[in-house]
Symmetry: C2
Subunit: 159 residues, 2 copies
Amino acid sequence: MERPLHEDVEPLGFLLGTWRGHGKGSYPTIDSFEYDEEITFSHVGKPFLAYSQRTTHPVKGFPMHAETGYWRGVGDGRIEIVLVHPTGIAEIQEGTVRGTTIDVVTTSVSRTSTAKEVNALERTFSLDGDVLRYEVRMGAVGLPVTPHLAAELRRVDPA
Amino acid sequence: MERPLHEDVEPLGFLLGTWRGHGKGSYPTIDSFEYDEEITFSHVGKPFLAYSQRTTHPVKGFPMHAETGYWRGVGDGRIEIVLVHPTGIAEIQEGTVRGTTIDVVTTSVSRTSTAKEVNALERTFSLDGDVLRYEVRMGAVGLPVTPHLAAELRRVDPA
């Protein structure tokens, strides 16, 4: 059953649907890499969007990264994100929604016993025309917050 | 493309597929409630299962709770779970897989600024014949770990 978008997440409504595109990653401790990506935002009428993301190798097609979580509209242009990585990382992010630009920074990163050390992630999402761009900056394995990922996606399926 | 199950999650292979059933919830601070539930476990050939769960009102059908995350097989009968709730809660759970029984306890709960105080969650999953049962015990809003949820589900769709 289709339910109306909750008013608390109306500022995030521009994200709804499925997006596909391409990204590039780098970090001082690893080789640079590229990836294809699909992101989906959906809702059930409650004050959050469900978020999931998968990346695959652009040539060989095998799965690379994935994330899943929830984006919460909490009023006053504020957003809270809770998401997890299959590498054993849980992130809490908080920040702002201004028009179609979202800026969030880590307020908490927690890890399983066997996960790598990740301390901070900053994410910027912005919709420009029909192109959704994001950047992720990461502080991990003893390094300060450093550019890590950048991607551009286009909506392939409305919500 | 179908990929073989990663050997590190073979002990969790009995969970793969989609499960549906019914559960009951209670907590000292709230009215008791019942719910219908669907849980899905899937894999992409990497050493984790993707987990998602949704509950709905058993009579009126509206969405109630949801969770999403990853279950990591890390060898020696150990499991690590990272999962998030749309209420702004991120859980790290660690524990054991013995046959078809999984016991995990919280090693970390993190919360967004507006989330309710939840400090501990203990979960037991066990497959008995074709019935998957789980119990969740929770410590929240100042209370010690207390029974919270119990449900029984049956597999409706293999992996």
